[in-house]
Symmetry: C6
């Protein structure tokens, strides 16, 4: 059952639970060792905040390519913490907000967290929260400065706070002097091997075993090198498209090979 990872998530009694669950819609498929490492590194920071007397505030940045699973993993770490206060700050919940309303909402969530003895806040998709666009470039300096200060602002005496952020634009954060504001970074890699793809395909039960093995062989033959790279999110999307087709196997194989990052021998 490919939802098993999700089942391991113990929902806390914090307010953002439904929202956080929606971030892990398709579970956490353990397609490589990295997934475990990321989750256990996450736990370490959860423990540090809970236990250390000298570091009541710890901030961690999850970064990786578009669709590699950052949001799902950050949400999972937060839900696994069992802290009494678990909140999500995400662009999706602030569509249509003015810069000011956004800033007020963010500030409010932080102020709420200061009231709980132990809190975790997931700040999802920093580049989108900042209204970043590479043309110009433009972004909201108001939100940026607010976050830069909040990322370093000590909670009141006796209160503790863990911050988990995600971004697919780490280099932009660096240009903004924002990386310095984080205490630690965790890299989330995309899927890089055929066996990982195979694990995912098995989990989502798209094919029969023979279909799957046929599909994997076809892909293997068509790619130029062993260097492949695809986000788990994209892989799931392609699989679901293929599911609608009469000939699922060839639709899946051909669509996957059309992805530039798959390095197919014959570009479509």
């Amino acid at each position: 059952d490919f939802l098993h990872a999700l089942e391991e998530v113990h929902p806390s009694f914090g307010v953002s639970d439904a929202e956080l669950q929606l971030c892990v819609q398709n579970g956490i498929i353990p397609f490589s060792d990295n997934i475990d490492r990321i989750l256990s590194d996450g736990s370490l920071y959860v423990e540090q905040v809970k236990n250390s007397k000298h570091t009541p505030l710890v901030s961690v940045l999850l970064h990786g390519a578009s669709g590699c699973g950052k949001t799902a993993l950050a949400a999972t770490i937060a839900m696994n913490s069992n802290y009494p206060f678990i909140k999500l700050i995400s662009p999706e919940s602030m569509v249509g907000y003015s810069e000011m309303s956004k800033m007020n909402e963010i500030t409010k969530i932080f102020n709420d967290s200061y009231k709980s003895p132990l809190s975790v806040i997931v700040i999802d998709s920093l580049e989108r929260l900042l209204d970043w666009v590479p043309i110009g470039p433009r972004f909201s300096n108001t939100i940026l400065q607010t976050l830069l200060v909040l990322l370093k602002k000590q909670p009141p005496k006796g209160h503790k706070l863990l911050l988990i952020s995600t971004t697919s634009q780490k280099n932009i954060l660096q240009e903004m002097d924002m990386l310095d504001a984080f205490d630690a970074e965790i890299y989330v890699p995309s899927i890089k091997s055929l066996s990982s793809i195979d694990i995912v395909l098995k989990e989502i039960e798209l094919f029969s075993d023979s279909e799957r093995s046929y599909a994997m062989k076809s892909i293997s033959k068509e790619i130029q090198s062993n260097y492949i790279s695809i986000g788990v999110k994209k892989l799931l999307m392609i699989a679901e498209m293929a599911r609608q087709d009469d000939d699922k196997v060839s639709k899946f194989v051909s669509t996957l090979l059309m992805e530039p990052s798959m390095m197919a021998k014959n570009k479509y």
Copy 2:
């Protein structure tokens, strides 16, 4: 009867029907195999959204040169879906709106869609919705960021949403990091062969058969190579201009050859 393609369109009981019909004013003339392929690819995404349990949100981008028929095709796919909620977001319906009103209108249509179990939204002419102008360049970052988030925002549990956008400025969307926000792309080519022109001319009954064959021969003689390219919208405009003239055939031929993309031997 050159309106036959239009007749195949089955109007849904969604609200934007009249508006969508206006987008297909001159029907869909099947002047090449691409037209069929585009419509059937569209149907595939319509089915995926309806059926898949893992991808409740799918977003597709139709792109191609100015006047190649993007809007008419997007409207046709949407009307063919028979979804209970079918809406058009277009710059024409928001003339004179402030940036804020525009954003509110867009957000409202998305929020309405979340209430229907199954929805399709056509977002027409992205570059114009964004108030894009290459000088500067300038555009509305407010609208851009709103769309970037809405394109990825999951509808509530159990609700499904198909997004069909059009643009004639795909490269600009890329510079804005907007392409990543789409799950799939469909390319809409311009008319590229004389036989396609011939099919269109026949459909619109501009000439008698002998006139038409004479016109096609004249064009064939005057062009430098086999590489031609003209949007169906422009072709229809030239045909209608010629229709007013006493000498329809030569007016049509000369005006068409004045188009730079027709690669006429003697530039006017």
Copy 3:
């Protein structure tokens, strides 16, 4: 009588009549064949909009150098159409308007036109309507985007609209991606020959016949090549200045030759 061209203009019962008449203050002097061609091309578009079932909206751009007569010609085509709705959108009528008021006024005139079955709108001096200035460059993107959409917005079913715009900055419109929004273009040349100057001088009765012939000969002797270029508006201004002088002939000749575009042998 040099006002004869004006007399041929049949005023419609549209509202902008007085304003449009003011644009043709000094009539249309037929100083070259181009004038006829432009007016008859204009008529063709007038007919297309009236008659074609497939192109209820046609937009035409008159472009040419400063003072070449664009506004007078656009106004003449519009007045000659005898459409029930004839309106002028010009920067002069919106002096002191804010960007918003301008946009509202433009939008209002278009909305009014949609109520008439058959309408023509002259949009004069696009670069000025857009508050264009080459330093920066700066312009009103609000007005630009409004016009870009209105130029392509279909009137309601059964209604028809002809748009005639003028500009002396065609290249700027190109940089703004505005040219694509027009269905057709008409080039308005400046006065390029001595015989055209002679025709104008005769019409405005500045000189006796012998004075005129003497003046033309003087000019002919002093210019370097046959390539000359002067707007009819400037020519009329110089003529009227000269009229105040005791020695009209030499004042006219010397002032005209001081114009750089006249390529005089001895620069002043």
Copy 4:
């Protein structure tokens, strides 16, 4: 009496009389033939507007270096016209105005002028009215566009308007496409000869005749070439400074020679 030029000015019954007089505070000293030429060219345009049936609107630009006397000459031409409506638009009268108030004030003066059958408006120091600064560069596009339109806006039928503008930044107006909006230009040169300086010194009675001749000789000896250039305004300022000194002659000579444009042999 060096105020004789001023006495020749016949004040009209227009409203701006006191303001215009203040612009010619130190009269018009006829220090070279150019002064006469400029005033008589001015008269010619005054006559054209009054008499011509075809050019009810004429706009003239007086340009020259800082302090060369542009404002005084423009005011003199306007006051000499004896038109019933004579108004001054100047930055000094709009200190502290917002961009909008400025625009409204300018528009109001033009609208008032349209009510008089015959009007002249002096628009002083265009670059300052436009809030021009070379860093950036920055300026008020609102005022620029307002002026660009007003400079070409025909007064109502039967009404006539002469516009006289001044600027010391002609090249900037060119970069702004503003020069095209003027029908004519008049160049106002600075003082370029020692004899002109001598005429001015005589008029203002700074020295006795022998002092003056001594001063002129001293200057003549100390300058490198015959090319000198100084604005009449600066010359008057230096003369008045020297007047306070015990040794007027040497103070005048030394201060004048410190001006870079005087090309003194020994730079101070």
Copy 5:
């Protein structure tokens, strides 16, 4: 007891005491001679303001790399002054403020200080107060100009004021012409020797003596050169992370060596 430095801090009866204490959360560990020098230089300025009749206003800038201890040292100097008015201006206390509110708050604190005969204000993290971001670059010129004036504004006769600012972006302040506004600068170095690390480790009681000596030896072996550099703040963070791990020593050593500024032989 590694809190001894903190205990030496004598809290004044000024208002910001709790806030200032929070800045020295982990005490001042005397890990090198620089710490003493900085604190005694600070005392000298404290005395000058109290005693000199000619310099009632003195402003000092503490600068150094991120996390080197600037804020803790500035707060310590201020608290040690025993002045009747001791205030902290910091970005953390103004999260969510508009530019105007920020400016008003800063101005208010200065105005309050002018009422006390003897005041010290700590202005923490100038670059953050200015909303500085290197992209653009952007910053609040309103806050900058306010600070530039306040840094030089004499308190009223008989009143005295010491200003202590901190920044990790001295070069940016230079580009802003802000350095000129300070009367003196104090450089705060990062930790540069292994023995300093050893002192810190001893103070925070992370390891037993043998563990510590083993850890120091391991680090010593792995670094390329003697040039190391790490902020005391980062060192404390790494120590606390390691404290959570089962194998504290290797977690500490490996994490510390992953810091680029530690110049480890084998980059992780």
Copy 6:
């Protein structure tokens, strides 16, 4: 008594007296001949405005390096004028003002001055009034344009006005075309000789005579060349710092030599 210069200042019955006195807090020490020259040049302009019939408005710019004494000298000239209206416009008195309030305050002071028959206004620190920052560069064009016009605006008939401005950024004013707006400039040099330093030291009674002579000798030995340069303001600050130290002489000498402009042989 080093306050003797200050005692020579005869306070006028104008309103800004206390403020102006504060600008000359440490008197005017006559450390070089330049000080006398500047003050007597100032008097000359005071006389010109009072006496000349042709120049009712004179504007003077005092410029020089940071801390060279510009403000103190400008205030002294103004206070020495004995005019009935003496006002100071300074950034310090407008901290926290919006651009608009600043402009209104400036305009108000000028309007007040127009009511007095004889007025002097000191406009201190132009670059700061303009909110100048080199990054960008940015500045208030509103204040700039207001000052540009006010610097040239004639007071009403019979009224006279002297303007004395200061700046340490003359080159920036040039880039802004602001220098042209001044009638005259006065350069204020920094301290450039050891004997000037000696005069200042004597005046402020920091050392006994033998200490002073020892200090001067030490400095003399340590500097590389005779070219030194230090503002009197900085010199006074260093002297007062040294006064707090047990070893005043060496603290003074070492701190002074750390100034880059002192060209010490061994850089600190």
